[in-house]
Structures are given as C-alpha cells and as structure tokens.
C-alpha cells in the first residue's frame, strides 16, 4: 500500500520520466540543486584556471571533444575528427546545426575565432602555443596544424578551458554564451547560480534547471541534503558514515584525477641529498596518515601520478615505513645530530594543514625538527609556489589526461617546477614521450618516468584522494569525470 502510494504520488508530481526524454521542452519540469563551497571565478573559461568555474561552465559551453568517465576521448561539439599521417594536423567535423545560446550559428569560423581568443588572451594560452595554424575548410570542418609532433594534442581540445565561446560576445565572465545544454539564468555571488535549458541545444537533457547553491559550511550542506534543499553534495570522509547503509541515499565514492603530496624544495641544502628525501619517506606511515587525515578515503601513491589514469603504474612500497632506516639514512647524509626544516601550510585547506602537522610529528621522531608556518592561500601561492622559498609544503594538484602534461612540471627548466627537481634523464624521457606515436612504447616511457620519481622522491607522494558525493538514491546519471567537469544534462530523477 505504501509502495503504491509513493509511486502514485511521485507520478502525480511528474518529476522526470526515468531518462528517456531528450531535449524536448515538454519534459517534466524539474530541478537539480548542488551545494558548492565557493563561487566560480567568473564564467569565462578562457580567463581562469579555477576548478569551480569549469564545473559550472562545462554545462554552458562545449569543447570540440570531451571525455567519458574513463578518460576516453568522445565527441562533443565535433562529431568526428581525423589525425593526419604525420600527426601534425587535426581536423574536426562540427555537429550539424550547432548554435550558440544567443541564436548565432556556431560554425567553423566561430570555432576559429574562439581559439584565436584562447591563444591571444587565455590564461592557458601557453599550453596551445604549439598550434601554428587554424584553417576553416568549410562551414563544418576546421583543422589545427601543430608546429611539432605532440602525441597528446587531441586531449588539449577536451579540457574545459578550451571551450568554444562566442568570441564576439561581450563580458563572458558574467554573460556566458556557449553551445552547451544550459545557459546562465541568474547569479548572485555567495548565494546561488541558476542555469536554465538552452533552447538551441538539441542533445540529451532531462532536467531544465540546475542550481548551484553556495554553502561554505560542510555541516550546513549535510543538513540541507537531509532536509531536501539540495540534491548533490561533496563530503569529507568523516561525514559520509551517517549516509552509509541507508537506502535513501546513494554514495558515489571514486578516486578523482588528482593527487596530494608533501613537496620538498630539492634546491635547499639538506633536501638536495636524495638520502634525506628517502629518509623522510621512510619516516612517515602513509597508511596511518591517510587514515588519520582523510578517514582512509584515499589511494596511496608512490609518484606524481593519479591511480585513475591508464598509464598509472604502482610504485608504492619502495620506501616503507621504517623509522630506524630513516635515522640511518640521515646519519649517512651527515645529519646524525638532526636538522631543522621549514614547512609552510596553506590555511584555506584544512586537510593539508592537518596532514602537514601529522607529518611534522613523524619527522620529529627521526630527528628532523620541523618549524611549521601556516600561511594564507594567496601568500602561499606568491611565496611558496611562485617564489619557491620553502623546504616542505603540503598541497594538491588536479590531474591531466596524459602523462606529458601531468609530469612536465618536473622538467628542469619548467616555470611550474616549484620543487626545483632537476634530472636530465627525466627531461629526455619527457621529450621522447611527446614524440612517440607507438602507444606501447609511450606507456613504457610513462612507467619509466613514474619509476624515476618514485626512486628520487622529490616529494613525499601521499595519495590520490577519493571524492565522495552523496545524493538521494532517486537521482541517477551523476558521473565523476577525470577532469573538472560535470554533465548535468545526463542527470535525472527516477521514480523507482
């Protein structure tokens, strides 16, 4: 009886129909509300590097290609593509009838204008400097020519910062114009951002309205989810327990494409000695650290490589927890009487602060005295990341789709090499990777690079964090991708 009542009740409300509607205005009116902690940094995908922006803009704009949950490249604005024999020219065929939300056609000319905008003023323009020519073949065909071979060139077109925008639109930061399933309806910073269906989009879409509700406090988010005021939240490991084993909730816990590490400044006197870095790795019980700081929600890693990428190789266990061995190595390096290192932790990331404090305790036990300073995020970015004035720091990185873009920050000359790591053999491997077309050999090189990092330990690689999303169990189709995007057009409410 109760079951019948529930079914008829929700049928009466008509909230979605199990996901068979595609893009018709007649679809049952419904709404998805996601709690987020911060606002996007504007809605112009070319003008920021902020994940909070891309999670919103990936629903407003499309990229030429995109990825599925496994990171495999799939069509988006382009329905197909070809790569020339020499690998230097990529040609995309656009979806027929692609139209911006302002009604203007999104043809090859518009795509060209968007990429010219990205190249001239995008904050990521450096990543695309290999593009030497953009040619419009016909209305729906566009080709990109690269000056030198880059085997991961295709992935460049999948990242959310390469989204195709209407380059002639004014002020995309507050008035975004794209070809995606949704468009901006309203945005009151620190309150809510509302997306509504983009009428010119004809692909899959089940829900007409998507709301991002800004809630900085995690307990408030959990309360809001329980009270039915939001439908999707991202929780930390300590808060997930209350939802476990309860059929009313679905928990989506999967390793994200990211990694967290304690970076070391390889140019500082003590840390330039590999034995000291190895000692630090021996001194820390990684499993206990992950258990203590992340409630066990993380996959331990041995090098700068998220476990979700296909080229991942397990390099854990090279330097197991062994304080005695750590003391021996320190003595060999000439630090039998102990050393003092400076650790800087970013205040805005409580988990990194906690991890740093736990690590400092482990290090103290083997004779490394750590003086900890907790600094504001902007200060951290300025003095530690860009200024490289530190010994130790704990931070996280978002992953990329291929080993080259992920690991190129370890190139001796890289401007992003804040660890000051320098290994000519590693640089050579990076060079080789970028021009190796043979996939088997490329994977070998990726493994070799991970192995080198795992041995030389320029940092203490901690974990690939597991992201935990909680939703009511009636919400279906919510996916976690290896890049910072959401696909709300695939989300729907089932009536089961």
């Amino acid at each position: 009886m109760l079951g019948f009542f529930l079914i008829s009740c929700s049928g009466g409300e008509g909230s979605g129909d199990g996901g068979t509607t595609t893009g018709t205005a007649a679809a049952a009116p419904s709404i998805i509300r996601m709690a987020v902690t911060t606002d996007p940094d504007g809605l112009d995908p070319h003008a920021t590097a902020s994940a909070s922006t891309f999670q919103v803009t990936s629903n407003i704009y499309e990229t030429l290609v995109t990825v599925d949950e496994q990171g495999v490249i799939i069509p988006d604005l382009a329905e197909s593509w070809t790569v020339s024999e020499d690998g230097l020219v990529l040609t995309f065929t656009l979806r027929e009838g692609a139209t911006f939300s302002n009604g203007l056609a999104c043809d090859a000319q518009a795509v060209k204008a968007s990429f010219e905008r990205l190249l001239s003023q995008g904050v990521r323009s450096q990543d695309y400097s290999g593009i030497s020519g953009i040619d419009v073949i016909d209305e729906r065909t566009i080709s990109f020519t690269f000056s030198e071979l880059n085997v991961s060139a295709l992935t460049l077109f999948a990242y959310p910062w390469a989204a195709v925008v209407d380059a002639n639109a004014q002020d995309l930061r507050t008035n975004p114009v794209g070809t995606g399933p949704y468009m901006l309806s309203s945005w009151v910073p620190q309150q809510e951002l509302v997306l509504t269906a983009n009428p010119s989009y004809t692909g899959e879409r089940h829900v007409d309205t998507v709301e991002f509700i800004m809630m900085p406090d995690m307990t408030s988010q959990v309360t809001a989810l329980r009270g039915g005021q939001v439908d999707i939240i991202l929780v930390t490991g300590d808060l997930v327990g209350q939802f476990e084993g309860d059929d009313a909730w679905s928990i989506l816990a999967a390793p994200g494409n990211g990694l967290q590490l304690m970076a070391m400044n390889n140019a500082s006197p003590a840390l330039s000695d590999v034995r000291v870095r190895q000692a630090i790795n021996h001194a820390v019980d990684k499993d206990a650290l992950i258990e203590g700081v992340w409630w066990g929600y993380g996959e331990p890693i041995g090098s700068h490589f998220p476990v979700v990428l296909s080229e991942y190789v397990d390099t854990n266990g090279l330097y197991p927890y062994n304080p005695d061995r750590a003391r021996e190595l320190l003595a060999e390096a000439g630090y039998a009487d102990g050393i003092t290192l400076e650790m800087y932790l970013p205040r805005n990331y409580q988990e990194y602060v906690n991890a740093g404090l736990v690590i400092a305790d482990y290090l103290k036990a083997v004779g490394i005295n750590v003086s900890v300073q907790i600094v504001e995020w902007a200060t951290w970015l300025s003095d530690i990341y860009n200024g490289r004035g530190y010994d130790l720091t704990v931070v996280g990185h978002t992953g990329r789709l291929d080993a080259y873009s992920l690991l190129s920050r370890y190139r001796s000359s890289s401007a992003e090499n804040y660890l000051n790591y320098s290994d000519p053999a590693f640089d050579a491997l990076l060079d080789e990777y970028s021009v190796t077309v043979d996939e088997v050999r490329r994977t070998e090189i990726a493994h070799e690079m991970q192995q080198r990092l795992a041995e030389a330990v320029p940092g203490l690689y901690i974990q690939d964090p597991i992201q935990i999303y909680v939703t009511p169990s009636s919400l279906k189709g919510f996916k976690v991708f290896p890049i910072n995007i959401f696909a709300f057009n695939e989300v729907y409410f089932s009536q089961e």
């Binding site: 911060t38 606002d39 940094d41 504007g42 809605l43 112009d44 003008a47 920021t48 590097a49 902020s50 003023q121 904050v123 990521r124 323009s125 450096q126 002020d171 930061r173 507050t174 009151v188 910073p189 620190q190 309150q191 809510e192 509700i213 800004m214 809630m215 900085p216 406090d217 307990t219 408030s220 309360t223 809001a224 329980r226 009270g227 005021q229 939001v230 805005n348 504001e376 995020w377 902007a378 200060t379 951290w380 970015l381 300025s382 003095d383 990341y385 860009n386 200024g387 931070v395 996280g396 990185h397 978002t398 890289s414 401007a415 992003e416």
Partner: protein, 318 residues
C-alpha cells in the same frame, strides 16, 4: 548644530579616505595578488605576467590610485576582479541581507537588555538579577559558530521547523524570508544582549545610587516614574553608544554566522575579497563600512541628546 553636522561630514570623508589609503597600502604589502590567486597551482611566470597585465596590476601604484579615486568621485566603485561584477552591485546585494538583520538584532538586544537590566538593577540580588546574570555568562561563553550549528541541527534537521538552505529575499516570499533569518537573528541577539545587559545594569545601579535618586524618593515621587523618567534616561548613555557601535560592527558582517547559515552577507563577501586579493571589492567594502561607522556615531549622538537633553552639547570634539 548645522555647522557641527557639516564639520562631521567633512571629517567623515577624511576618515574614509585615510582608511582606504591604509587598505591600499596593506594589500600592497601582503604577498599575492588577484592574478596569482586566479592561476593557482597550475600557472607559471609567463601566464602570470599576462594575467597581471590584463587585470592592470602591472601599472604603477600612483596611476592605479588615481584611477580608483577619480572613479569613486563619479560614484563608480569599479569592478570586482574575482566576480567580474560591479562592486556597488555586490555591496548593495549584501546590504539588503545584512542591514535588516543587523538593525533587528541590535534593537531586539537593546529591548531585552533595557528591560532585564533595569529590573535586575532595581531588584539587585533578586530572581531576575540572578537569572539574567547567569544567562549573560552562558551566552558569552558560547562561541557563535557552535550556537549556530546547534540551532541549525535542532530546528532544521531534527524538528524541521525552518528550512536549511540559504537566503530567500523578502520580495520573493516574506514568510520564507523570516524563516531564513530567524536562526541567524537569534544567534546575533544572544551575542549582542549580554554586553548591553551588563552595561544597562551597571549604569542603572550607578544612577539609583546617586543623591538625586534618594532625594526624588524622599520627595514622594512614584518609584516607577523616578526609575523610567530619570534614572533610566541618565543610565542609557553608555548602552546606546555601545549599541550604535555594535550596529556599525554588524554591518561589516558576521562571517561565521553567515557561513553557517549560508547567508550572502557583508562578512563573507569581505572575507572572500581579502582571500582573493580582490582590491576593488576590498576597497569598496572598507569605504562603505567606515562611512557607516561615522554615520552611526552621528546618529547615536543625536539619539542620546533626544533621550537625555541634559547632555552637554558636543562642542569641542568632532
């Protein structure tokens, strides 16, 4: 009176200008800028330089100062580098949330403090005195974030009396608006009442200890009239001054309470502006709030003189 007002307004502008100069200087000295924060851990030196040029951060300080103040004179508060929206739009959105909340909480707190404080002073050592003093102790021992969470979990999650989920504008749905602010308002009232009550009580005790109070009683005036018309009037100076300052302080926002209740108030905006090194927005809020502090001092003075005409006209100071 008019000349005095004019002098005060002039002084207010000087204060606001100095405060904003100090803010400029402070943000110039602290490490990091809007471009660095925007790029995060995925940027490099070339990208940084490009973004700094885009945001105009590479221009000399004098030039930026000149641009800012010449804009301000034309009531152009600039554009937030983080949100990309006009600073004035952001501040006025926040003011609509923060001002009613701040005003209501101070007025309610004053009402409670005056009532309880007067009774507590007149019947010193009585039931009301003991209970109100204990409650003040308790209230000041409770951190506002803890009380906020407690109320939230109780009324929102367990009893389900009020919704959990941010702010509803009164224009949209007045009932829902009241529901969305009743808990934060309670937290603020609890926080504000304590100090005010203590002030009312001690000033009242002082007033009824004066000779004229005894004289009035001896003369046979009714006790209630003596308390309300004479003692309370003279005792209100300190609490009213304090309430004025509190109101100005609350307008600057209460970041913690706003965060817990997901209210889009001034405090959260200011916090984000500083963290993101959003210079225009920080400036806008600082100038706005310092204007309010000055204004509140003025209003408090006027109210005080209305309540207690015996006060000396403020001749010397600002």
């Amino acid at each position: 009176m008019f000349r005095q007002l004019l002098r005060r307004i002039l002084a207010a502008f000087i204060v606001m200008f100095l405060v904003s100069l100090a803010t400029f200087a402070a943000l110039e000295v602290v490490p990091g800028n809007a471009a660095i924060v925007s790029l995060g851990t995925e940027g490099n030196v070339e990208q940084l330089a490009a973004l700094e040029a885009q945001l105009g951060l590479d221009r000399p300080l004098g030039e930026r100062l000149f641009d800012y103040y010449s804009g301000l004179i034309r009531f152009d508060w600039g554009t937030s580098s983080y949100y990309g929206q006009p600073v004035w739009t952001l501040i006025s959105q926040r003011l609509a949330v923060t001002f009613p909340l701040a005003l209501a909480s101070v007025l309610l707190a004053l009402l409670i403090a005056i009532t309880l404080g007067t009774v507590a002073a007149v019947r010193k050592g009585g039931v009301v005195d003991i209970i109100s003093r204990s409650l003040v102790q308790l209230a000041s021992a409770m951190p506002s974030f803890w009380l906020s969470l407690l109320l939230l979990v109780l009324f929102s999650s367990v009893l389900r009396l009020v919704p959990m989920g941010g702010y509803v504008s009164p224009a949209e749905d007045f009932g829902a608006y009241l529901n969305s602010i009743v808990l934060p308002l309670s937290v603020l009232v609890v926080g504000e009442t304590g100090p005010l009550l203590r002030l009312v009580r001690s000033s009242m005790l002082e007033a009824i200890g004066e000779d004229w109070y005894t004289a009035a009683q001896v003369k046979g005036l009714r006790k209630g009239r003596v308390i309300v018309s004479y003692a309370l009037r003279s005792a209100l100076t300190a609490p009213l001054t304090s309430a004025g300052t509190q109101l100005a302080k609350l307008l600057g926002g209460t970041a913690i309470v706003e965060s817990v209740f997901a209210l889009p108030g001034m405090g959260r905006l200011f916090l984000t502006a500083v963290e993101m090194r959003d210079l225009q927005l920080v400036q806008g809020i600082v100038i706005f709030v310092s204007f309010f502090v000055v204004l509140m001092n003025l209003v408090t003075d006027i109210v005080l003189r209305l309540v207690n005409p015996a006060l000396e006209p403020d001749g010397g100071g600002l």
